[in-house]
Point group: C2
Chain length 463, copies 2
């Protein structure tokens, strides 16, 4: 264990150097904020001046005593925002019209449209922009799912640190010039291009994103397929499950009472706490038949005679529950936070249960076979040289200390596609080859004609 003093010294030095740095944060509302908030809190706690841009009407982003918030006006009311989301929540439980893929895309587009509008409104607020520019921020921390932070970083000429799980159409890897051989890297959300309207904004947004200094990717290779990466990509999957708090007394009592059978955690993510009564009844009936206790984040209608092993809650401390030794199964819609919390605590997952068949699926689900796999994943996931939160803090501070991370930026950013694929070189070489072949053929023809001509002449003479 001889290296702790060295590491300690190194980090003391680093922290010392960045003390008092100023960071501007452009988060995305909704569940994305929940993990970015962990990093924001930690950076504040370490003495940085952190300013978070918050829309006046938001879903989950709220002020805090730990960091500063700048609240900006948006062109929609809280009612309009909530109304939009209630529509979306309902949509989750209706059978998919075209395909799961298209439903997912539609949800995503609807989810971001309002925030993009709010972002545009903010960028046009000249007074606010002048004020922010005057602050002299050292860096920008941004969720690139909406382009707000990237635009601001470009406008203020400050380096950007991106915090994300991923972007559709591999926009993140493409923007960072990372090769993605299609033979073993499945195309995520393929076919969405026109729906997302990326064909139009692709070139410009991709270039804008390409200016990012560090990409904090909220995933790791226990869940993600291994693939080529870039030196400025930092994998911080599981950042949301490093620290656990003790459960509230009533929850602790409920889960402790589950005995050896343990309990199940059931949630549809931070944005959905309701479902149609018909679907809900399926679940209630399924839960009645199992020995485990169930903790369910559910605010909808409850059928009469609901089973007693089910406890309904408005909000679940998801990560703390999954960390509990009696937790047996994690039923989730498959959001990345939940997936990584599941992996983190070695809990088995039942994913993406939007369709009707789920209740039956649960009953036939074998709790033991998959559990071992999950525990292997969990042990790999935890076995990293630096915990994800510290890694995220380190690289954010790095960008503030060094005004970017240019030494990790590939030269491919400065090439156009003709240069990237060496087409100019190939064309030049082809030209040379063609010219040489052309001249050779001409010479040969010329010689052959001469020789044949002379040959005939000689033959004639001999004759």
């Amino acid at each position: 264990m001889g290296w702790f003093p060295v590491l300690g010294l190194l980090l003391c030095l680093s922290v010392g150097l960045s003390e008092g740095s100023k960071l501007l944060v452009a988060p995305m509302d909704g569940s994305h904020w929940l993990s970015m908030k962990i990093l924001v809190m930690e950076l504040s706690a370490r003495g940085h001046e952190v300013v978070v841009l918050v829309p006046e009407n938001s879903l989950l982003i709220k002020g805090s005593q730990t960091f500063t918030t700048v609240i900006y006006k948006v062109p929609y009311t809280k009612e309009e925002l909530d109304g939009k989301f209630n529509e979306l929540r309902k949509g989750v439980f209706s059978p998919p019209k075209f395909s799961d893929l298209m439903t997912n895309v539609e949800r995503l587009v609807n989810f971001t449209t309002m925030q993009v509008k709010g972002c545009e409104y903010m960028l046009n607020n000249k007074e606010l922009m002048d004020q922010l520019r005057g602050e002299g921020f050292d860096a920008m921390l941004s969720d690139p799912f909406i382009p707000c932070g990237s635009v601001l970083a470009h406008m203020f000429s400050i380096p950007a640190v991106y915090f994300l799980n991923g972007l559709p159409c591999q926009l993140d890897f493409r923007a960072n010039q990372c090769p993605s051989p299609p033979s073993y890297i499945p195309i995520f959300y393929s076919g969405n291009t026109d729906k997302m309207n990326f064909l139009q904004r692709d070139m410009t947004y991709q270039k804008l994103l390409g200016e990012g200094a560090i990409w904090l990717l909220r995933n790791d290779f226990t869940f993600q397929w291994p693939r080529p990466i870039m030196p400025n990509m930092v994998f911080i999957g599981g950042i949301n499950c490093v620290t656990t708090k003790p459960l509230p007394a009533d929850l602790e009592e409920f889960v402790e009472g589950s005995g050896d059978d343990g309990f199940i955690v059931f949630t549809m993510g931070s944005m959905v706490s309701d479902m149609p009564l018909k679907t809900a009844t399926f679940f209630f009936e399924a839960f009645r038949q199992i020995p485990q206790r169930v903790l369910w984040r559910y605010e909808g209608k409850v059928p009469e005679n609901a089973p007693k092993n089910v406890k309904l809650l408005k909000w679940l401390p998801q990560n703390d529950l999954l960390a509990h030794p009696k937790a047996r199964l994690f039923m989730t819609h498959g959001g990345t936070h939940g997936i990584y919390e599941g992996i983190c605590h070695g809990r088995d997952n039942v994913h993406r249960m939007t369709a009707r068949g789920v209740a039956e699926q649960l009953l036939i689900f074998d709790l033991s076979t998959e559990a071992i796999k999950m525990q292997t994943l969990s042990s790999l996931h935890h076995d990293r040289p630096v915990p994800p939160l510290d890694l995220a803090v380190f690289w954010t501070e790095f960008v503030m200390r060094h005004k970017g991370a240019d030494h990790l930026r590939v030269a491919a950013h400065d090439l156009n596609w003709i240069q990237y694929f060496c087409l100019d070189v190939l064309a030049f070489l082809t030209l040379i080859v063609v010219t040489v072949i052309g001249i050779t053929v001409k010479c040969c023809l010329f010689c052959t004609r001469k020789c044949c001509g002379r040959g005939t002449a000689v033959k004639k003479k001999q004759a």
Copy 2:
């Protein structure tokens, strides 16, 4: 600084789990061994059973009280080995015959040929092989510059950790299936392929190398151009300069006496301590004209009336000297150890001084302009979340704990080149398109003929 307890716990756990693991080490003789030794010593100190394979006649690899050595027979004597190297040492100072590139390649090939012979001899030693197999090693630590370790790891079915600066012809990146766009990744040692005889062994050795679990790359992006990397590549550049020891008394006195002018460190690497008197005289005369003191690793002939500011030594504590605050300039042949020690301590470098012009170059060299650049590199190089030695230890232990690192291995390893470039998919799609076009054209022709036929008939009737 809130995360130290967490990190501590994590690492205690890790160390605890791997305690008593057994590691087989296949080093390469010469300067490569010097940095691998640091990792080997540290792993031994942490309680692992480390067994190093040492040829009976070697240049720098020696036994130690910290780790176990297994000495194997080789088909050459110590005299033959030394003789070969003396030839090589002389060759360094003769003007390059064809090009610097070819000279370098020749040196490399000669450097490795003897070791490869020794390796073959060892692999054919059935008794030793059976003994090693019986030991039940958890992993192999190997320098893949010679194929010994890769072959052993394959034979014993144990995961391999590679420790290297790089391989010629990008063999390392190719073996690890990492894309290398030629447009911005310069081809190192290009044209060597046939000289190195890689055309013959390329496919098999590349495949063998591809089995490596973790690649500990002895470089980082302060010196290396940024490029696509793979999840199982770990950058540990600077592993050789983390720890410094105090200087011996006589050296300390000499360098302290250099005053504000400071001193210069001059060495041609661990393998070369001599040069022709004519070349040496150039350097002595150059040094006479500068105010700095010079520490020179030199065992050759000394001209009469040598300047007093030059101290000649058989062996330099290079890293410790470069760490000294009075060190001003580092004159080196450009070996990677020296380069990283230079970067590490922010010392200015004058590289690859094999040609005659060097003495003049030194005199006109501006010590201050480049020094700032070097100090920027140094600050970037040091600013990493985990020191390189600890990173190397972590990943070696990881491979022993988890019997490999399969979750970091890209699926491309299982594809042939037709699949990798999706040529099968393209061929299938082309077939479909051609078929559809073919059928459409046939149909159109058929319809046109029918219509035209009828049309003519109608026209005829009308007529």
